[in-house]
């Protein structure tokens, strides 16, 4: 009897312990479920993606339409392009009414490309609206206010030695934009983007020591060439530059922006809000900035119903020849 009671007691104790552990496990499980992943996994929703850049004083641009793809999908122009959309641009009056309509048709040159049916020069300080519809996707709309045109009055050099303390500079008129200061970006493009033409600093940055000292000719791979042949600064505020007494701006080109010797086309662009937002957010998305590593913000885009960029700018360009240090220079 005593033995039996003991066994019973042990069994009940075991059961009790077992129940306690089960309870604890359940509590732990609940905590895990409730607390471990309080955030939901991401899901892809297909969107129409637009790409269009209006330039004050230039003809209406092409418009490209693609679709967003799942992060795990393999992107290709063919898979992404939208070829059966109806697209139009509208020129808006100051009161928001439609002053002109510019229908677009699909281009035969490229998939997803649409071109204007009628010629039109983009008007500065005017508002344009884009509207596009494609089967199976939400319609998109977007608006842009085109910046005021500005003029290139003078350049300091047509040819300049690399690292010349005088630096290459533009003299430009100011460009007013709504109620904020102008935002510039500078683009430097070189058609001879080859390793032979790289300035010293970039040779060191792109090729490691073994490659430099191998005695073999240095060759840029396609990815590097694409990245370097057209290089654009981050958005720069007008307040960085001194306004001369006659109201013009003298803008110097920092030497770090020069990647290749030879003929460089330098373009100074004034951005509308859409391009400014898109550029600054996209750069943070790529580089992180002040956000913690692994935090990737979405790009701030101006497209209702979709994504991408529909923006406008005013721009001026000039060509300067950069020659290596110690070469003969002529202004």
């Amino acid at each position: 009897m005593m033995m039996k009671r003991t066994k019973t007691t042990l069994k009940s104790v075991k059961r009790s312990i077992s129940m306690r552990y089960t309870g604890l496990a359940l509590v732990a499980l609940m905590l895990m479920v409730a607390g471990c992943d309080t955030t939901s996994p991401s899901t892809h929703e297909e969107e129409m993606i637009v790409e269009a850049y209006l330039v004050a004083g230039e003809s209406l641009p092409s418009i490209w339409l693609t679709r967003s793809l799942d992060i795990d999908a393999v992107w290709s122009e063919q898979a992404a392009s939208i070829n059966d959309a109806s697209v139009r641009l509208e020129l808006l009056a100051a009161d928001g009414s439609v002053e002109g309509v510019f229908p677009y048709t699909r281009s035969i040159q490229g998939s997803g490309q649409y071109v204007p049916q009628d010629p039109h020069t983009v008007l500065p300080q005017r508002r344009y609206r884009l509207a596009a519809d494609a089967p199976g996707l939400p319609s998109i709309t977007s608006e842009t206010l085109v910046p005021e045109q500005f003029e290139l009055l003078d350049i300091s050099h047509s040819t300049i030695e690399y690292l010349d303390p005088e630096q290459f500079s533009f003299l430009v008129t100011q460009s007013e934009f709504a109620d904020r200061q102008s935002i510039f970006v500078f683009t430097i493009a070189n058609e001879q983007a080859e390793a032979d033409n790289l300035v010293t600093a970039y040779v060191d940055l792109i090729f490691d020591q073994d490659e430099r000292e191998s005695g073999e000719p240095l060759v840029l791979n396609d990815e590097d060439r694409l990245e370097l042949q057209r290089f654009t600064s981050p958005p720069i505020n007008e307040a960085n530059y001194d306004v001369l007494p006659d109201g013009t701006l003298r803008v110097r080109l920092p030497w770090f922006a020069v990647i290749f010797y030879g003929e460089n086309e330098i373009t100074m662009s004034v951005l509308d809000d859409n391009l400014y937002d898109f550029q600054r957010y996209q750069q943070v998305q790529q580089n992180g900035g002040l956000l913690s590593p692994g935090e990737i913000p979405n790009v701030l885009d101006p497209i209702q119903g979709g994504a991408g960029i529909f923006g406008s700018m005013a721009r001026v360009s000039s060509v300067v020849t950069i020659v290596p240090e110690g070469s003969t220079t002529g202004n």
Binding site: D37, R67, D72, Q282, N298
Partner: protein, 755 residues
Amino acid sequence: MRFFTRIIRVPLLVLTLLIAGFAPSAMAQEASISGFVRDADTGETLLLANVRIKDTLIGAATNTSGYYALTGLEPGDYVVQFSYIGYQPLELSITLAPGESLRRDVDLLPQEFEVDEVVVTADADTEEEQRQLGVSRMPTATIRQLPTVLEPDVFRSLQLLPGVKSASDFSSGLYIRGGSPDQTLILLDRTTVYNPTHFFGLFSTFNPDAIKDVRLYKGAYGAEYGGRIGSVVDIYNKDGNRRENAGSVSVGLLASRALVEGPHKRGSWMLAVRRSTVEPLLAIARNQDVEGIPNTFYFYDANGKVNVDINQDNRLSLSFYSGQDVVDVPIADQVSARLRYGNRTLSTNWTHLFSDRLFSNFTVTGSHYFSKPEFEFATTDVFQTNDVWDYSVKGDFEYIPDSRNQFKAGFWMGNYRFDFRSVFDGLEGLNLKTRAIYTNLFGEYIFRPTASWTITSGLRGAYFSDGDYVRVEPRLAVERRVTDKLFAQVGMGRYHQFLTLVTNEAFSGLDTWLSAAENVSPAFGDQIVTGLKYTSDAGFRIEWEGYYRTMRDLFSLNPFLPDVAGLEYEELFHFGEGYATGSEVFIQGSIGPFSGFAGYTFGVTKRRFPTINENQYYAPKYDRTHDLNVTTNARLSSKWTFTSVFTYATGQAYTRPSSQYRLGNSPFEAQQTEVLVSPFNGARLPAYHRLDIGFTRKGSLFGAESEWQFQVINAYNRRNIWFYFYEFEGDGDVSREVVPQIPVPVPNISYTLRF
């Protein structure tokens, strides 16, 4: 200025009344005992030591100067018990005559065998009435003994406490109860330290050899502290050995340390220095033509303190800290980067006893933080200078008329100066110069209506001249002694913050402080904390705390501004809010040769800003739902000790892209513009876990104590993930690269000699 005068006049009048009216002669028939509690070996004052009348509930804890006072006692015979963790308790038999004010400075003998134990004290170690909600102390002996990356580190040790999280293996920043590092006030000898990091954030600036006491106020802290909406870390340098000259030398892989201290005719002195010692390794790497090795890289810090006992009632001290990190990296031909950043602090402290009942402390502080990064690329020079100067005067008064009533009051006023200048290729893009006067006044009343209840009510007022902000912060804490072993507590308060930190989790060398101003309101938050603290007969301590806190009017530099030239000051910021809630459990105890502590936190932290996640709440990266730390210590023999730290935490929030698109016709770049679409921080990394172990061997060398430490960080080679990096590939794929935390077991060895 008139307002400024008015705002300080009232509390000064109150303080004067306190001093003149109550101080020496109140309750003429009642007696008291007061004095300082010190380490018998070194003469160091002991902070928060327990003082108690035996067989009663009358007791107190020493304050931040090591002073205690038991007042309002009936004349008669008493046995006074003094205790402090790691020291032998002491009983003192006294006889108090009517009206007698007995002064007894007491020396406690260290319990040598306990010094090696890994201990953390949550305020008073057992039964003390001065126990406060959310307060933890980290003994420096523990800090020195815990396995750690390269250097023993105060902040990394604090990260083992429940409610305190780290951002990564590479950051010593304190993320306390959902707050970012700038929400924690860091004080060294009552002086604010603005960038407490070395090695760009890898570990903190505080040399454990030089430190006497580290206290962490995790939340709902009392009215005597302010200026941050989250927490306070209050660190005190050693006073220096008052008995004999002593010192220690320690050689480690990254840095070496030396400490000398000793007595002088009227007090003591201490000097501790630490400097990195990696230059020989760098020189070898340079000789091997390894690219990217810095031309210059070092850091140093120095702590010093001199104490002068003018007489029994007046003590003076002067302490300083100076630390700096310097790096100069040649990145490529014509491309180089240089950075110099550091802190300097100086404080003079006068402790004055107006009477046994009225204790006062006056401090004059100066703090300077600087950061000067410079980058040169093909003669294009880019540099920033960021300086913060903070000069202040503070005074604290503590009046203890009897065992039931205690009053605290004080002021802290000073002058901030922030200079931030940014120059690109000779063009000055930003030149901010902020000057602000700040004034803080507080009063606190601690009322013990019965032996079981303690009610602490306080009020703090803050004035910040840039923007003319006046803010009032009520504080309240209630404690109930349920049994001799069980305490229940609740505390709450409002907190304001006039500063914000521009920083990057991965790199603290460019840290920049900005302040509230007109159109940039100070941040504020409310906190409520409740807790239970239980001590078993066997000495095990079990504590639970739950908290909820809000963060409102958070202002921080808008991360999406590529250029700030020409913007109005308020346009530099984005404004947001957040909240945090959680539950913490802390267990500490010892069995035979084993001792240790464990902390578990369940926490939720959310924030939102209009520029991020469409103004919807998101979990910041440092949010960890579950966080467990277990620290153990085993005395293997009289010479060998084993220590381990195990950490487990829910994976951090990160952004997992769901969609992609590419734009191929940009006028600004020849390659495609690549864009990800993602729910911001909508996913979690795999769980984080890591084990660090260490062995300590004690010995002697030429009669001096010596100590070898052998440690392995990440002992079982866990490959924790820091973050994912997504890259668009030319073939149309988006690849995901893992960037790991400490990816391999990292050994560490150090040798210390104490003489």
